[in-house]
Subunit: 470 residues, 4 copies
Amino acid sequence: MKSWKEECGVFGIWNHPEAARLACLGLYSMQHRGQESAGIVTLKEGEHIHHKGIGLVSDVFREADLARLGGQAAIGHVRYSTTGQNLLTNAQPLTADLYHWPIALAHNGNIVNHDMLRSDLKERGSIFQGTNDTEILLHLLSQHRSSDLVAALTDSLVKLEGAYSLVIMSNDKMIAIRDPWGFRPLVIGRKKIDETTWARVVASETCAFDLIGAQFEREIEPGEMFWVDEKGEHSKIFSHRERRAHCIFEHIYFSRPDSIVFGESVYATRKQFGRQLARETSVEADLVIPVPDSGLPASIGYSQESGIPFELGIIKNQYVGRTFIQPTQAIRDFGVKIKLNPQTAVLKDKKVIVIDDSLVRGTTSRKIVSLIRQAGAKEVHMRIASPPTVGPCYYGVDTPQKSQLIASKYSVEEIGQYVGADTLGYLSIEGLFQVMQSNSKTITKSKYCAACFDGKYPTDLFGLDEGDAK
Amino acid sequence: MKSWKEECGVFGIWNHPEAARLACLGLYSMQHRGQESAGIVTLKEGEHIHHKGIGLVSDVFREADLARLGGQAAIGHVRYSTTGQNLLTNAQPLTADLYHWPIALAHNGNIVNHDMLRSDLKERGSIFQGTNDTEILLHLLSQHRSSDLVAALTDSLVKLEGAYSLVIMSNDKMIAIRDPWGFRPLVIGRKKIDETTWARVVASETCAFDLIGAQFEREIEPGEMFWVDEKGEHSKIFSHRERRAHCIFEHIYFSRPDSIVFGESVYATRKQFGRQLARETSVEADLVIPVPDSGLPASIGYSQESGIPFELGIIKNQYVGRTFIQPTQAIRDFGVKIKLNPQTAVLKDKKVIVIDDSLVRGTTSRKIVSLIRQAGAKEVHMRIASPPTVGPCYYGVDTPQKSQLIASKYSVEEIGQYVGADTLGYLSIEGLFQVMQSNSKTITKSKYCAACFDGKYPTDLFGLDEGDAK
Amino acid sequence: MKSWKEECGVFGIWNHPEAARLACLGLYSMQHRGQESAGIVTLKEGEHIHHKGIGLVSDVFREADLARLGGQAAIGHVRYSTTGQNLLTNAQPLTADLYHWPIALAHNGNIVNHDMLRSDLKERGSIFQGTNDTEILLHLLSQHRSSDLVAALTDSLVKLEGAYSLVIMSNDKMIAIRDPWGFRPLVIGRKKIDETTWARVVASETCAFDLIGAQFEREIEPGEMFWVDEKGEHSKIFSHRERRAHCIFEHIYFSRPDSIVFGESVYATRKQFGRQLARETSVEADLVIPVPDSGLPASIGYSQESGIPFELGIIKNQYVGRTFIQPTQAIRDFGVKIKLNPQTAVLKDKKVIVIDDSLVRGTTSRKIVSLIRQAGAKEVHMRIASPPTVGPCYYGVDTPQKSQLIASKYSVEEIGQYVGADTLGYLSIEGLFQVMQSNSKTITKSKYCAACFDGKYPTDLFGLDEGDAK
Amino acid sequence: MKSWKEECGVFGIWNHPEAARLACLGLYSMQHRGQESAGIVTLKEGEHIHHKGIGLVSDVFREADLARLGGQAAIGHVRYSTTGQNLLTNAQPLTADLYHWPIALAHNGNIVNHDMLRSDLKERGSIFQGTNDTEILLHLLSQHRSSDLVAALTDSLVKLEGAYSLVIMSNDKMIAIRDPWGFRPLVIGRKKIDETTWARVVASETCAFDLIGAQFEREIEPGEMFWVDEKGEHSKIFSHRERRAHCIFEHIYFSRPDSIVFGESVYATRKQFGRQLARETSVEADLVIPVPDSGLPASIGYSQESGIPFELGIIKNQYVGRTFIQPTQAIRDFGVKIKLNPQTAVLKDKKVIVIDDSLVRGTTSRKIVSLIRQAGAKEVHMRIASPPTVGPCYYGVDTPQKSQLIASKYSVEEIGQYVGADTLGYLSIEGLFQVMQSNSKTITKSKYCAACFDGKYPTDLFGLDEGDAK
């Protein structure tokens, strides 16, 4: 069984009288990073209080829960899980009452050598509660003899390989850690309380700061451990790597468009992807339409660069529930139709460019093209604001196996035929990095992990890719 | 106590083996017309089966419910209710086992003389179950001696004044009725079963037909009663009025942009409102941004007409739950912020035109303007793609009392100061009707009810406006 | 379709600051009379507030419900229903906002001519909401022109035939009514508030008075209408019949043993049945054991009369849930075993007399006898503390059809063989009435309805027995 | 904070195609031993499947759960917990996927040296999930290097002091263990499948065997480890103590009357306690009545010995829910009244002996005496079928602190005055042991722990009694 891991969002706040409430709001603004479970742990008079649940943040946290959580510091987590079982056991933050301190831990990423580490720890007598790779760090800390948490972390982290943006809380400090590659985002800011005091906040994305009225300061550096305690603030680099491996997909799809990620506006980057796509794959057409909502910023960029009018040719149903009835007598293309309705009034007899952020399996794109044609479009030109996806992610993103990635097997032309478009165009890898570079003079290609596009995984994969090799 | 009524959506299907399922999907696509309760009644071997519940369509109907409903014909209803009590009692379709036939009834609109009719009926011994104005028609039918439903309806409808788009089912026919003014939309179409057979469908909006793969044919005419039974299809005009009173607000806000309403594409109309608004209220600016999602089509039109670039300056949180925690220590403008986040990366140092579909109380607009300024905009020009709202609606729309409509008391300039915009501009009433006319040569100003803008109510109000007069 | 009706319990309280709460407790103590639904209606400043729900009283009423109910007067109802559908619609008290007054109505009994009355009312235009026979009275009142509720009731009640113990509340009075036969019990009492004031209470059984600390005064007389309003208390006999028809089964099984019913202690009566049974059906044995809990009082009486020791030979599982898993690989006599466990330590090698209150179908008795034998009993003598059940009840009790009553087809000897007992003995009808007479000098055989034993139904049955005749 | 532990019931079955279902029924019959949570773990093709939940067995296990559990072997647990928090985390069976085998563990009892062991294990790096003393054994096994579970258990059990009846399952065996004192019951039996095959079953009480149709064979011996695997059955004595310490309270109150516990019928023992009580505390009276249901067997014995008639003077409400509303305006003695109703018809003007199994705080007895007097009794003589309770239990029973045990502070005469009885009588300690001895020639006083009556705790208490000493 392959171990597919998940996207997550983390949050932390230190020294605020409404810590639990603000943590809740911070998680709420990062709901797009994980919808399966949510949790918060607070620090209240030296003790940890926690509340976790299955579902959306707004379902999991009620006023009574927040009142019980209280506290002057809090860390939180939202999680998207692919495994049906043990949802609550694996929900984060993970907590344990270790010999020296209580500890709570929220993790975004994936430890690629977790199988090996887990087996070692079990042989030494550790009892694992869940199947979560994050639990390994708890046991490494528990096995460590030192009463100095920062020392124990420093020793433990060197054993981990992979992606980890962590927010950790003990009985007297909050710690933010980013792996040496900097795969996943982690930002730091502050929220003013009064003229002389402020709270320290950390989050996966800056949109969390916007909602709670905090100011973004900087990213936690790759390989940095940053902590706050009664004595003040501290930072150290626990590991150094020459290159970075920021996840390029955060800019393509994961992050909210209103976040600043790896130093760049996501919305601006996506629009630039659209502009670059227009330059690379121009075609004569009457309209540019987005696949809502993922293709929206790129299609605005495409329209502005090409001068072809931007229209809402596909309307999204605002009330799509999680599960819903299936028609036993198939309505054609039902699965997509329940969410998206291409409108004849806009599309009839038109040459249409339809833009999405990425194309993974191709099944949904195929249905969208079909629906646009049923609405009367004369020509359908599909444009994808990222390169062909050829490899799975092992750094904390839920992706299909390689064999299910259509671009790992077929040419762009073949994919175009499969989805039924008159033409299909992707953004080139060169174009992608050109956008990232032109955005900021200081960022070079070597700062990003684009393994899903170019297959160059920055770390050893410890056999995680074996299933795909077959 | 004033009797504020609600928006609703109705649906009906006759002669289809998956009647319940398609009714469910039809309601699902019209969820925007009512989110409080949903219900379906089917006709199964001459008997009515019903299922109603509080909540969204996807919550109310489970597979087991649909299996139980079965049937070859079905009518359904979604409802938005403002009164907390007796939600389920008032949920529609209403049903009754009358002496001559079982009857089920789904209603969109509001009977303005319902208080008087109800009092009469009670004096004659009728027992009312809910506070719903629709129940009146049930009792009028029950009191009627005839076993001919069409005759009983014809006699009963003449007693009703106001707005009613009705779908009714007995043990042997389905009937669609629209009031003589044509206040609310009601369309008719057909869904193909095989080469020679098709099912008859009616719905409030054409988007319901799109989802189930049915074809739109025409509107039910104002004053028309249309019915299907074993013998075939029938239509008669039960009442005639010289003018129409189509609700202009369906085009401004209520209907889904991908629907065809009163013969016009809603999306196209809204874009035209935006273009006309640009012509009437031009101002120098760097960007046009919509208030998501209501201002989206108009802002595309405004941008196209003015040539000022369209941008997504405000990002909407996709996971807004119905109820959520409130910060005890106020985060500034929290109520709007939880839904909408203006992004600094787009707005900083820019002259911004922000567009919404309408402005009712002004409180939300004021917060939005404030948030845009906090994001660094240099100038904020608010544009409203409809005229000032000066009167409540008594024809089936939930609106605030007159005293709470800011435009009923203050000038445009004063409202602009209240919301804090550098300039505020509304679409003119003349501009509004010009758009409606230019859209279609056949439609004239006199075909629309715009009482919320001009105070000209087409019917007697039977004292419903007394509370407002004070 | 035969219309089988249900057992119920009714309660009313007038002029008490905790009316809702005491009504809730009163219903709780009468939970044995109906477990499917419960409801309370209060009178609060001239208006009715109601709360009804499916389930036990302790599930249906929460503190928040009681707070909302409030009021100085309240009526309530518990109901056992055999029909799965529309449970909540049929739950009582029924309420309606009639032209002259709001009305709430709680009913125990069954109107035997309800089909005829319902058809008449529907033809005259009344719309029925449920299938409840009680709703007929609501419509009779609604059709009545008079604004005088007592007059309207007097006119309406004469049209009803059958069993009805009613508690009714309008906006200014509470009314208790018992049918002219006095089929079902209805008692009246008072609860002291302070030295000079007291509240008036009515209930199906006196155990309701015990729990709330009220004093039992007397029965509502057959054919009596008793009411309280601002002016005080009033009583009138609206109909007179020469004989009574008190339900003998209230003493045999329905009522709680600690209630006083039709003027007699239920516990004392049941013990007397046991004594009489011992006199009539003596047999040599080592032990007398009850079927818990229904046979308990009679077996104490039997033991005392016969001198044979009383033992708990069958232990009842205290945690029997409503529904529970079934073994797919049959455990022998599982259905009874899950509730009752005969113990070998008591029964082994003993001659055992086992006593139950009644024997209806015989299937359960057969399993009990079998389990007692498995536990090692040498002889099993079954004794039933009532006569053979030969007829269904049409006066508000849920009984099987005649064809399923084993005593309607087979002799005592044959039934004894079927249940597998060494001997089987019933109480004789003569013995039954002898006990009732000896209990109280004033009560004679003609005061009771024992139609289930002797087939002598006091009223016309309006065809309700047709299904049984076949 | 003192660590009060709980009563529990355990069950195990090996080699039966309906293992999960029978485990469920076994737990159901032992519901009286714990109502807070229930759980089952099955062994299915070498893997453990588990299902645990808060609530009664009939609530926790649905058909779908049993289908998922499947398996040929199963162990289960019901638990009564006094701590509100972490109910589900502490629910048993506990499970862990250890290095050598998966393990599941169900425990009845209490480890008195658990604080010391827990601290040691945490210092060595073990992470505890709950506050359950049972978790200690999991960690001792996990820390053990051997792959031989029986060896690992033998080494681990010697570290535990206190009460433990355990049922354990790995991937290839089921193990039943009883501590060397034999505090808690644990019995073994077999259930026939066909002529040549049978399943092995273990349970806390024999009533579990009765329900599933299994035969009781013998007790697991104190200090015995019994296990079944593919090779057959095995037993070894892992520890030997000269005396026994069977819990005498199992006979007085805990166990079901239809169980055989420590070789004796519980019902017979309780009746004997009643007979002995009659001999020791005779008084002239008209009636003997039990406090339902706990005083029932003893009162039958008392009546038989004394010749004073047995009556049901107090009727129990069969529908007492777990939580229920409280009257804001106090009804006198409400807390007891909601459960128990003394009936005037039986008690008025009578001299009454009322019998209960034990008297702990005295508050309930006081209310019962008061209610009996309100019902008109002339004299009330309370008799308790066990000696005065002077010490808490530390061996797996939830008891109040010593200071709350009324007999630890007051004389029998003083307690009699407090409860308001005319006379109060307890069973003597000598009488208690005389009954146990006369029951069986082989059982002597030294075989029982009666520390709650005589303060002689068989083990070191490791400071658990410190709170009480103050």
